[in-house]
Subunit: 189 residues, 2 copies
Amino acid sequence: MMRYISCMCAVLGLFIFCHIANAGGGAGSNWTSSQANVSDDSAPSSETVLPVPYPSGFRTWQHVKSMVIHHKKHPLYDAFAGIHHIYADKKATKALLENKRFPRGAQIVFDLFSIRDKDGAMTESSRKFTAVMVKDDKKYASTGGWGWQAWVGGDRRSPALKSRSEQQACATCHEEVQSKGLVFSQWRD
Amino acid sequence: MMRYISCMCAVLGLFIFCHIANAGGGAGSNWTSSQANVSDDSAPSSETVLPVPYPSGFRTWQHVKSMVIHHKKHPLYDAFAGIHHIYADKKATKALLENKRFPRGAQIVFDLFSIRDKDGAMTESSRKFTAVMVKDDKKYASTGGWGWQAWVGGDRRSPALKSRSEQQACATCHEEVQSKGLVFSQWRD
């Protein structure tokens, strides 16, 4: 249960917070925000980042659950330290509630805030990033049937994943919950 | 900001967790769940607990924000230790978004979970209680224009506030944010 969200993608976090521009290799190395969906030579390749839209309006989606990663002894501390919330859109919520397969278009958001820890209480400070996984078996066949992206500071002009290999890393981590459709979070009342 | 929720009512928490049957005095002392809205002599009095309905379906309401009270040095630790989430129904959400007066019927929920702290991460464990404040200037004139109640373990058969004085204690604590309509939580994106 502690790992109910585990990593949406540990590599994602490393990319965001460590700014390792070339960690994913390939087309991502020369990427800028305006080139998010275009490879270096303007021709699609296996390294071309797959376009994933920013999840507009996710703050009004269903709150699924929350978790706090607060100590460096947690294996995902470097990537995901903070208070995070999981939100699901209507399609994803229905699948979670009914414990069924996620349909095409279903979206789940992972919204991470840094922690303000003071006087015995942790509150949400600034947003570190907003990440999404969106289901489409055809469009995202090469990344586990889900599209993956994150935006630093929640800024839709600042996508963090810069190559398909970075997106594939997300899927690889989520394979731990293959039986749950690659989704760590389960419904609670 | 640390006190953005502060106490929905410190006395509420004490009643729930310390089981101080007579702390509020008056009719509450002989209260049972089946007598929640009836005073000792079956005649309304200033001590008769005001009926407040359980907020059915609140889990689908707008998630406003969350907070973790994790150490006894926090003044509300005894009452509210845990991970809590604030949810608002449509009326309350609109008022929060527009920073306007809360209309009649607006409801805000405070949903508290105990903490499972393991390997550097805090996750939600069992539900400690679900509390609500519902706006009605006439019906709840004696308790700040809001009706207050909480249910131990989130069980609608187990209301926690047993007298009007206990409900008044909630309002008294919330007077700290009189300028915000007695609501601690403010909207964040």
